[in-house]
Each structure stands twice: as structure tokens, then as C-alpha cells.
Amino acid sequence: MVPRPANQEALTFPAEPLLVVDGLDVTFAADPRSVPAVRDVSFRLDRGRCLALVGESGSGKSVTARTLVGLTGGRSTVTARRLAFAGEDLTAFTEPRWRTLRGRRIGLVLQDALVSLDPLRTVGAEIAETLRTHRVVPRAGLEARTLSLLTEVGVPEPEQRARQYPHQLSGGLRQRALIASAIAAGPDLVLADEPTTALDVTVQAQVLDLLRRRKQDGAALLLISHDLAVVGGLADDIAVMYAGRIVEEGPAAQVLGDPRHPYTRALLDAVPVTHAKGARLAPAAVRHPAPTPSGCPYAGRCPRSDLRCRDQLPERVVIPTRPDVAAAEPGVADGRPTVGTGHAALCWYPTVDAPAVLDAVDDRPASGAGPGVGRPVTAAALLEVDGISKRFRSPDGTSRAAVRDVSLRLHPGETLGIVGESGSGKTTVARIVLGLLEPDGGTVRFAGRPWGGSGVREPDRRGRRRHIQAIYQDPLGSFDPRYRVERIIGEAAATAGVTRAGRGARVAELLEQVGLSADLMGRRPLELSGGQRQRVAIARALAPGPDLIVCDEPVSALDVSVQAQILDLLAGLQSELGVALLFISHDLGVIHHVSDRIVVMKDGAVVETGEVAQVFAHPAAGYTRELLAAVPRPVGGRTAPPDRGASTRVVVTTPPAP
């Protein structure tokens, strides 16, 4: 436990919570007019509580957090009826005063620890700096305190780690070191901005557990995330933000168990782990005209919106507590009242039972009717991977096995998921299957003919390449930067024998198939949004008319709601075209949702394989159980996970390397 200094300001205002935000507006000056990033945001947060701000990119959640440490930048205007931390009025703060606050009393944890930590300083020096700046401990005690902090955040061998540089640590250790430096001075408030995005599930569970312990030690925690599942196990209260406004807020169990705002529902439905294969994740695309500036910002995307929504901002409606939901909430079980104003939604129609809108689409293909399931196993395999292995040479001369004796079977029209943490060799397998890398041993056969391994000549394979296509995590990098959308897709279409004259029509057709307007043909990839880029990548992968598409982390870089749309698109295209998918992801939820069968990989070897429902319900390997236990799920979510209760089990120890 970090010794906390007596907080006099807080003592003089015993009635007020630690953090009070009331009517916060943040506007950025930009050409040609100013952009409101945060509008009329109010919340309260007390010690020992966790408030989660949830929303997609651009919803204003990060800006709100930055406001609390005075880091919104010089082009911003911040106004608020009240903005107070421990009784001090933050609106009156000058830069020197902010500096006494940052790190000392408000700790900031950012998403990417590799960027946030100084690459030229050891981890120990980084943590010691916070201690030194705020004179938390005497100089002589610096080293001991640094080591005890590293131990506290669960870093093994702290003496050794403290002397290492950020790039020498794994992602999880780095994130923990960053948290250690953020909490070094024992701040009363910890701001965690997407602290687990881009981390493997087991590491993510460890980081979340670490934050939970800070909360139990009495710190207030403001958690920012785009993922309701991550937030579920940790937050006491949840505020869902959209277009700079809080559209729904309340105790976590209420918001997750009884969501009233259509956007909250859409976010919850986008969490793939709670939905079986075949269920739609995103609501059917709604294309309403854009709302007027005074209307509800969500009206353009909302299935419920009507004329009033477009013209008039809804009033905040207090939602009565549903007793069955409240009972399950651990946060109020200890008798403490919630910090916020109770469950409320910014919607004209919060009582309309919206599942009708979503679930009507939900049942589209029953999971049993999905392609691949029920297909006779005797059908000839499309892809046969037999005992492939691959070693890579490190700069120091030693060689490392990236893939060890991996065998796979993939049948036409089937989806095989490969799941594993970073470094498990999934991408190496993908590259070998794509014929971009030759295995050291073993063979790959595609459509009954040799495809990879010894004795396969590239000129023979080249003509067949169009039958295996790929979708990558970073679509932008996979497009020639000089090309426009038309040429990117047109080049791929040409390999299927589309003539130059017919290419424009074919590209338009493909764009429509992936849900894009043909108007985008003249755009460059840089001018597209992340979701649009991935759709263009899918259109390109479809263009040659492939039998197999290798998807390497295709949705990992996307927001939950965009991810849901892309997964729906892939599922729809698969049932329409009967293409087989080899789907690689570190995200068990995504894998569970898309796959017929899965392969679990660890350290280059297959740990477990089987039907997806079978593996998720009765994991045989210890490692699979560990992975599954670490998956965060929205607590009290509407759809219960198929195999376990709502609680989140957490793995605290790193599995030992073999």
C-alpha cells in the first residue's frame, strides 16, 4: 500500500466526491469552424470506485480524460460549470499547478507503453523519476521504492527488470511498468486510457487485475475503453459516450444488464464472445439523413430515430432500477450508493424494447445452418498442412523455432480459427499457407496438389495463387500508396481474367458486395476510414474469386462497432460465396464467433484442436482453459456466455515458458 499524504482539501469538503465534473464542454479551434469534442459531460467519481467511459474513437472519451490533467492542448477551449478534484477548482489551474497534480495526485496510464516510456531510459529510471519529481521518498530510498513498486505491479525479477529498457520487455511487462510509474507517487485518481487494447487476453487480464487492486487500495479509477467487455468486470459505473455526449450512464450492472440507449445496445451486441457463429453483431445498416445540430447525434445511425430525434436533443431520462439486475451487481452489494446520478439515458425512446429491432436480424442464419457445420467430414480437404516447421535465425546466431510440427485440415466453405497469443507462430503459419514463406519441413497441399514445402516450384504455383487470398491487419500497408481504390481492386480482378474494359464495372460490383459505394473508386486508401480500408481489402481478396481467404488479425485494429460490421460482412460473404476462411486472431471472442473449428497455438505448436463449441465448452488443454478464463465478458450482459457464469476469472501468473 502506498503511503498516502494527508489530503487537506478533501477533508474540508467531506461531502463532495474526489472528482466532480459538471457540464464539461471542450471545443477545438479548427478550420473552418470550431469542433466540439466534449459536450455537457457530467460525472462524479469517488475513492475506491471505478468509472468507465466507453465509446468508439472520436466519441470524446480520451479528451475528457485529458481535460482532467490539463493536457487538451493550446487550441482547445475548456468550459465547465464545475470541474473539481479533491475540492480544488481545476478551471483556475495554471501550468505550474497542473504539474504538481500530474503524476503526484492523478496518474495517467496510456495505451501504448512502448511509446509512453522513454526508450533511452531504463524502466527503473522512469519510475524513479516520478518519485524524484514529486519528492515522494528521500533520495536514498529511491531504488528500494522502485523495486517495491515493480513487485507490487507483479513484475517478476524486479532487480533485473529495473535495469532493462522498454523494448527489452514484453508488452504485458511494459504496460505494468507504465502503471508502476503512473502509480509511483500514490495518486488518488488513476486515468487509464485504453490500458489493455492491443494486449493478449492473459496479459489483459493481469493488467485489469492490477488496476482492480489499485481500486481496492482506495484509488479512484477512470477507465477509458471502446470495449464494453473489458470494462464489465472492473467498473462500478459506466458512462457511454457518443459524439462527445454521455448518452447513457449508470451502475455497471444496470447499463450492461438493462441497456436503454440504442447505441449502448449496439455496442453490447458487437461483443462477439457472447454470440454464437451465425448471429449478426452489428445492427442492420441504418441510413437516416444526418441529424440537425440541435438533434440527437445518434439519430443518423439509430434504428429507432424519427423526426423528433433529428431535430431535438433528447432529455435525460432516469431509468428505474430493475431489481433482478441490481441484485447481481457487486458494486452496490457492499451497501455503498453509486456515485453517479443513477441509471439514465439520453434518448427519446428509452423504454421501447429495442431487441425487437436487433434480434429480428439476430436469428438470420441459425448457427447450425452456417456453412461448414454439418458438412460431411469425408469431403476432400481444401487445404492440408502436414507437420510443417519453421525456424528463424536471430541476429545473435541462435535459431528459434517459430512453428513446430503443425498440421491443419480445412474443408471447402469452412472457417478454421487459429488462436494464440503474440509469438505463438500463428502469423508464420499464415505466411506458409499463403506461399509467402517456405517451411523448413513438412508439406502443404492445396486443392489436392502440392502447394508448399520441398519440391514446389514458384512458376507452377504462381498461376494458382489467385485461389488463396489474404486480408491483413493493416490494410493500408497492403495497398500500393500510389494507387486509387479502383486500381487496387482492378489489379486483383485482372488475375481472374477480367478484361480492361470490364474492370470498372467489376470493381463497382465488388465494392457493392462489401457494402461500399462505387463513389469511393477514385479515392486513395489514405482518404478512407479504417473500416472502409478493411472493406476495400476484402473486396480485393474477393476479386480473383478465391477458394480460401487467409484473414490475419483482420479486425484487431478496429473499433468494436466497426469490428462487428466487418465480421458480419465476412460471415455474410462466406455463406453467399462458400469461400473457406483461415481466420487468425488473438481475440478468443472473435475466434469463437467466426469459427467452425479452432486450433489453439502456443509457442509454435498446436495445443488443442476441435469443434469450436466443444473446445470452448470443454477445453482439454490447460493452456486453453487459461486463455478462456482470461476473456473479459460484460458482467450481467444480456446474453450470457454459453459455458460459464458472468464472473471474470483472472490469471495472475504468467504461464511458465517451456
Partner: protein
């Protein structure tokens, strides 16, 4: 309502973007001027007759060695030839040698660099060690060596200067090509089953050359200087043909009595090189700003 403003510029999370382009254009009158000079130089090189009616080799001994005047803006040389006309007519051979040598250097450098980047480990090692050897020699020495082997004359000077600069380009092309070769889009093109020559021509080469072409404009200025230098040494264009380097060499003998014979051709070289460099560097910055 209370207002709060964070004013510390060091804390700007987003650099100001507004009006950046306009400001940059206004703050760069030099670029505009260099552009105008470059256009004029091009016109002069294409048709010097547009700017003067005097022939460059018309001698008039009666007017020999007269200083700049209304009739002869740049004065006359020891044979009474009009220096203004000679400087104008000298633009074409001088700039052409610079342009030609740059083009040859780029072509040779690209060929060697691409071959090294795409030709496997052995080819890469062999070519790059050769490039290292050539780069260890000062370019002027290399050019002189080449002229010694090839013989004197305008075309040979052009080739010699190209040989002097090609190794540098080769190294840049190789580095760029290695990056492009490992990029996602080249991999995606391999996955489409494109044949290797098509792949190189369609994706590798164009994406490699982008930065190189900008570098070439700056290199052009240097080539003009080297070509003029070789002419000055009497290895390139021969008198009486008007060429800035050769004219500079002639003017050297009269520097104490008739400064204009040497100064104006020298000024021609200086102005041309500076104009090209300024425009080239501007293009370089614009290109770097637009690259991903």
C-alpha cells in the same frame, strides 16, 4: 461559466494545421523566384535567339575587350564577341551536359541498385562492394579517371560525370527497393500471382523512384558544376563553342583586365545551380511531407 485555457505550447497535443500551406507559400518567396529563373533558363536553353539577335561567334576585333555597356550588356571578349550572346548560347550545352549526366547517373544507379536489392545475396554483395569502392574515391577524381579512359569531348564528359554520381544513387535505390520489397503491398501483389517482372515494374520500381527523382533535381545542380569543371580543365567542350565552363577558362587569362569575360559565365553557373537546388529542395520537402 468559468473558462480555462491551457497555454503551454510544449503541451500541444495536436500541432496547428490551419493555414499552414498558405503560410509556407508566403514565407518562401525564394522558391517562387527560383522557379521563375528556372523557367527563363529553360527558354534560353531551348532557343537563345529569343533573347538576343547577336550570334555568339561573331567576332568584331574593333570592339574587343570593351566593358559592359548599353550595346553589349555583358561586354565583349578578346575577339570582340558579345558576352551576353555567348552566355545565353552557353546555357544549352552547359545545362544539357548536366541534365544528360544526371539522367545517365539515375539510370545506371537505378539499374545497379535494383539488381542488388532483388538479385539475391551474392549479387547484392558483389555490386555493393563495387559501389563502396567507387564511393571511396572523390567524385571529381572518378570523373577525371573516366575522362582519361573515355577521352575528351562533350559526350564523354557527360558520361564521366554520370559515372561519378551513379554509385551514390545506386546505394539509395537499393535501400529504398529493400524497404518496398518487404512492404505489405508487394506481398499482396505476390499473393495475386503477378510475375516477377510485372511486379517489379508495377509496384517496386515506381515506389522506389519517387524519392530518387527529387534527389535527382538537387543532383542536377552538382552535375552542372562538375561538367563545367571538366570543361574548364579543357576536357569537355572546346573553344570557340560557347560553354560556361570553357568560357570561364578563357576568361581566367583576362581576369585582371576584363573581369566580365570570366564573371558572367560563372554567374550563369551559379544562378542555374542555385535555382535548381532551391526548387529541388522544396520538392523534396513537399514529397517527404506527403509520404506516409
Amino acid at each position: 461559466m468559468t473558462a480555462m485555457a491551457v497555454a503551454d505550447p510544449a503541451l500541444l497535443t495536436h500541432p496547428p494545421v490551419t493555414g499552414d500551406r498558405t503560410r509556407r507559400r508566403l514565407s518562401r518567396p525564394g522558391v517562387a523566384l527560383a522557379g521563375v529563373v528556372l523557367v527563363l533558363l529553360t527558354l534560353v536553353a531551348v532557343d537563345p535567339g529569343l533573347f538576343t539577335s547577336t550570334a555568339p561567334n561573331e567576332t568584331d576585333l574593333a570592339r574587343a575587350l570593351s566593358g559592359p555597356s548599353g550595346a553589349h550588356w555583358f561586354g565583349t571578349d578578346q575577339l570582340g564577341r558579345d558576352m551576353f550572346a555567348r552566355v545565353l548560347y552557353g546555357a544549352r550545352p552547359s545545362l544539357l551536359v548536366g541534365l544528360g549526366s544526371t539522367v545517365f547517373a539515375l539510370l545506371g544507379g537505378t539499374a545497379v541498385g535494383l539488381a542488388a536489392a532483388l538479385g539475391g545475396r551474392v549479387g547484392d554483395e558483389a555490386l555493393m562492394r563495387l559501389v563502396d569502392v567507387l564511393l571511396s574515391l572523390p567524385p571529381l577524381l572518378l570523373a577525371l579517371l573516366a575522362v582519361t579512359v573515355l577521352g575528351t569531348g562533350t559526350v564523354n564528359v557527360m558520361l564521366a560525370v554520370a559515372i561519378a554520381f551513379a554509385p551514390g544513387y545506386a546505394r539509395i535505390v537499393r535501400a529504398e527497393a529493400l524497404v518496398v520489397r518487404r512492404s505489405g503491398y508487394v506481398e499482396a501483389a505476390v499473393g495475386l500471382g503477378l510475375r516477377r517482372p510485372v511486379l517489379v515494374a508495377r509496384h517496386v520500381l515506381p515506389n522506389t523512384l519517387g524519392p530518387l527523382l527529387v534527389l535527382g533535381t538537387v543532383g542536377f545542380g552538382t552535375s552542372v558544376i562538375y561538367a563545367s569543371g571538366l570543361s574548364f580543365l579543357g576536357l569537355g567542350a572546346r573553344p570557340p563553342s560557347p560553354e560556361w565552363g570553357a568560357m570561364l577558362s578563357e576568361g581566367r587569362d583576362f581576369l585582371s583586365s576584363a573581369w566580365w569575360i570570366g564573371v558572367f559565365p560563372g554567374l550563369g553557373i551559379t544562378v542555374a545551380v542555385i535555382a535548381v537546388n532551391v526548387v529541388g529542395r522544396y520538392a523534396q520537402q513537399r514529397f517527404a511531407g506527403r509520404a506516409r
